[in-house]
Amino acid sequence: MHMANELLSIPVAAGTLAIAAGGLGFICRKVREVLTGDKLPLMGILGAFVFAGQMVNFQLPAMPGTSGHMVGAVLLAIILGPHLGAIVISSVVIIQCLIFQDGGLLALGCNVINMALVPSYVGYFLYRTVTAGRFSPVRAYVGAMLASIIAIEAGAVLVPVQAALSGVLAVPFSTFLITMLGVHALVGLMEGLITVAVLAYLQQVRPDVVTDTLPGRVRLSRKSVLVTLLIFTVVIGAGLSLLASGMPDGLEWSYAERPDEPDFPPAVSNEDSAIAAVDEFQEKYSPMPDYSRRSSKLGEPAGEGMEAHVGWTSFAGVVGSAVTMVVIWLVAWLLRKKQARTA
């Protein structure tokens, strides 16, 4: 479920990059307060473990010839705690992007959110909720299973949402959503089974790892988990809704018109003056102008309307991405400065 650059528009990519950078910066700062130097090698090695672990495959039942492998986010979140787990899995996603070109550079924000931040926190929270109180194997297994399935589904749901906000999909939103949910229900189920199997093994060999005493975990009170989760929900929710209101294009595209049937009555009518104003603004300054079906032919000159505002749209696109890059840089710079002051 690595998101590719091509499935995102510039505003969505920039927004998710900003959210991911801000989130990671925040976690790094929080972890730095409690982390000492000896835990750094452990985190690095466990990141490498995720890579190596993905090579250990097993035959899937009922589908001969196919095999599944571990994703690892939930396992690490359970064992390391959500903060360290999130950093480790984020680093795995970043390496996958930079070294293996799996998932694009602009899509890195989406990928970090979908595959590292959301699964780690959701998974950890669910696991802790189920296993609250005294440790018992049954609870641990049920918790790990539930955490794996829901954490992976939660990340998977975000993929069609981000793509729809970007307005690049030809597939109807609901079809894409259902496909993603269906495929990732299977992935989550496998992930749950393998996580439980690994936990069962670890409980026999290194019981200290599965209960609470692994050297190198950051202890968290339930309250702080809840607060962090709440903050992330608000931040991500606010980010997405901002994007949604700033870029009506994506949802509009999937709900309000049917490009294959021009006469199709729109499901949502934009009679409101505010929406009309946004529409007009967007038409003028959007970095990605709505393509015009009839004039965009290869090798044929574009219509006059296109030519008239080409200069403006490209100007807005460049300034927009430059401003966003400056914002990301500033956020990280501020966090680093603050970190340097507290250290």
């Binding site: 750094l40 890579f51 030809a170």
Partner: protein, 258 residues
């Protein structure tokens, strides 16, 4: 410990390799952003944009065969999505290409645009990582404001991926040597769980050893490098040329090609 097959070209020497990693990273980022924001139906302009990464790969002495093999390896997800376009978008358009004119649908054009953008942006990313040592890239990223904890984490991860992949290979070979017939899903899962678990325990032990060894050598949680990053005149020149290329195409060639 063979990093060999993914970034062996990063350790070569060429004018591109000697450029500052920060400049290269920012250029690739801007390039990707510009390519992604191109209109959804213009295929021809993508060829112009592909010239950039192509030139870098050539100057950096990276075989194109390697690059395209890699692109094929990472393409399945985007390929499936791109192939949905012809099914959902059947608006007929007439395409003219030089003397050739033929009828097709908008879906096919968008399918090819998406695939073209994918190839061009992945090519740019390959051009970046196969002409930059990962340690230089990390140092550059840290200078650009990435938190040091994340940079250290990425450094450790990169260093030990292949150590643990070697371990995983040993475990896989051991299973293959012992497996007879089809054991059924339950056993399969149990075996895989055991393999991953023992790999995990091994990782914990390795981490402990590394920790002790690094402590003995004075590691206190900070990365120190003797590598001084500096932006020289060649970097300014590269940035200027890249900017002229990207924005020249975007402002002057794109409106014409459309």
């Amino acid at each position: 410990m063979h990093h060999a097959y993914i970034d062996k070209f990063a350790y070569q020497d060429s004018p591109v390799h000697r450029l500052d990693s920060r400049v290269k990273f920012l250029v690739v980022l801007v390039f990707t952003a510009v390519v992604i924001s191109l209109p959804r139906t213009s295929v021809s302009i993508l060829f112009c944009f592909a010239v950039g990464p192509f030139a870098i790969l050539v100057l950096g002495k990276v075989p194109l065969r390697f690059a395209f093999k890699h692109i094929l390896l990472v393409s399945p997800f985007i390929l499936v999505l791109a192939l949905t376009f012809p099914f959902y978008d059947r608006t007929p358009v007439t395409v003219a290409f030089g003397p050739l004119v033929w009828d097709t649908t908008l879906g096919w054009m968008r399918c090819f645009t998406i695939l073209g953008k994918f190839v061009v942006t992945v090519l740019a990313l390959i051009a970046l990582v196969s002409t930059t040592r990962f340690s230089d890239l990390l140092a550059g990223l840290q200078r650009l404001g990435v938190p040091s904890l994340l940079v250290i984490q990425l450094g450790f991860l990169y260093r030990y991926i292949f150590v643990l992949i070697d371990s995983a290979h040993h475990i896989l070979r051991a299973r293959a040597a012992r497996a007879i017939g089809k054991p059924g899903f339950n056993t399969e899962l149990k075996v895989a769980g055991g393999m991953l678990g023992s790999l995990f325990v091994r990782s914990l032990d390795t981490a402990e050893h590394i920790n002790v060894a690094m402590h003995a050598r004075g590691f206190d949680g900070n990365w120190r490098t003797i590598n001084k990053l500096q932006i020289r005149s060649a970097d300014y020149l590269f940035a200027l040329v890249a900017a002229a290329f990207i924005f020249g195409l975007y402002f002057f060639v794109r409106p014409v090609l459309q």
